[in-house]
């Protein structure tokens, strides 16, 4: 069934006020007729079953489905790569990420505009709908790595491409939110790594091969979601 993301103020009682682009999408692109049903999500957890009327939607049911989102919030701190963050946002949204902090670092070359952030948010919305998630990830404004990393609490891991750090999957626990920082092309500088460790971030490895900066976030989200969703391998169950 078609799924769209709405803003909570679009709901007025059991009537869903549709925007012009949403009406265009439902009626012209998806060719839904009056009386056809579609799903709407508010992006923060609620799913609505809606019937299309002439130019609005009639809410038939609403629910808060369980088990689709990951059991703890997973945030990624990603040093913005030269190209490819669009694909990273899309794939990591499918894999269940809660928040993405695009950051600059010593070796970051690009300085993305606010317009770029709006594009990433659009991609996150699309991927939320397509992957049948309920919550649209937060895309934070671009900031320096340190500004982001001082404010984050919970389990905090920083990926170190070289060295003999413990593997990410060996040092996760199920109980607390997880944040993982991924460096730019060329990796974090030693200074950044040392400062992060002082701030309480644990250096981790993603395995014995060198991953590109746009592969690493997808690998991280896959491993973390696999860890959270496969009870057999967890030491807690």
């Amino acid at each position: 069934m078609q799924r769209i993301t709405i803003d909570p103020p679009q709901l007025q009682g059991n009537q869903l006020v549709l925007t012009v682009p949403q009406l265009h999408y439902l009626q012209r692109v998806m060719r839904l007729q009056t009386g056809a049903k579609f799903q709407a999500i508010d992006g923060v957890g609620t799913l609505y079953l809606v019937e299309l009327s002439a130019d609005y939607g009639l809410v038939l049911e609403q629910s808060v489905p369980a088990g689709i989102e990951l059991s703890v919030a997973v945030s990624l701190i990603v040093a913005v790569p030269k190209i490819g963050l669009d694909d990273v946002v899309r794939a990591c949204t499918e894999l269940g990420v809660s928040e993405i902090y695009p950051v600059t670092s010593d070796r970051t070359i690009v300085q993305p505009s606010e317009q770029k952030r709006r594009r990433w948010l659009e991609i996150a919305k699309e991927a939320t709908e397509q992957s049948e998630r309920l919550i649209v990830p937060t895309i934070h404004p671009v900031q320096s790595w340190k500004t982001a990393m001082v404010q984050i609490i919970g389990q905090r891991k920083i990926c170190a491409a070289r060295g003999d750090s413990q593997h990410l999957m060996s040092c996760l626990d199920l109980q607390e939110s997880i944040s993982i920082a991924i460096g730019p092309e060329g990796g974090w500088t030693d200074r950044e790594l040392q400062q992060s460790i002082k701030l309480g971030w644990q250096p981790v490895s993603l395995g014995q091969r060198v991953l590109r900066t746009i592969t690493a976030p997808v690998a991280v989200m896959s491993m973390v979601s696999g860890f959270l969703e496969s009870p057999k391998i967890s030491p807690y169950i």
Copy 2:
């Protein structure tokens, strides 16, 4: 250090005969001078330390490094997507895949040419060098899903997008080669799933969200490599 992939016949005693493109790459693109050192891999496990001479290489050392490749062979059977298999081959090579079988299935739309396969092999070589792997994955010719799946032995899993299959990471073991089949846009048909199960393939889930066909192989390789490389979560160690 720069790394190139060579064919074993290029080695003649301790002399490495360089092809014209390799010489161009080392001397013009990477600007190595005579006397500079680089690494060469034969793509099947051996690493050579080589000194650049006028128009050939002098092998200084050779070794078979351990621990870089995954401990068991991991194969992917991938129904060819409309676009994006180039990126899948690149990312899965970084993550340690041994063999990729691009296959056609009921819902596969494209029929890639042999030229396309040569391109995927080139990408696999590049990604092997960049990720500092030693073994170049095998890219099989495009064939029907069933032709590929009847010939494969070991642990065999087929990803089912819907339903309540066990999670991939809950049903792996460390002892035997692993093969995982990933369907096209729209997924495997019921007929394909049922026939695969009869052939001994176990249906598995990759989690509670719907992944695109080009995200799933990368998620699979991330989860499997994480499983194989993080001793704490393994029931065998």
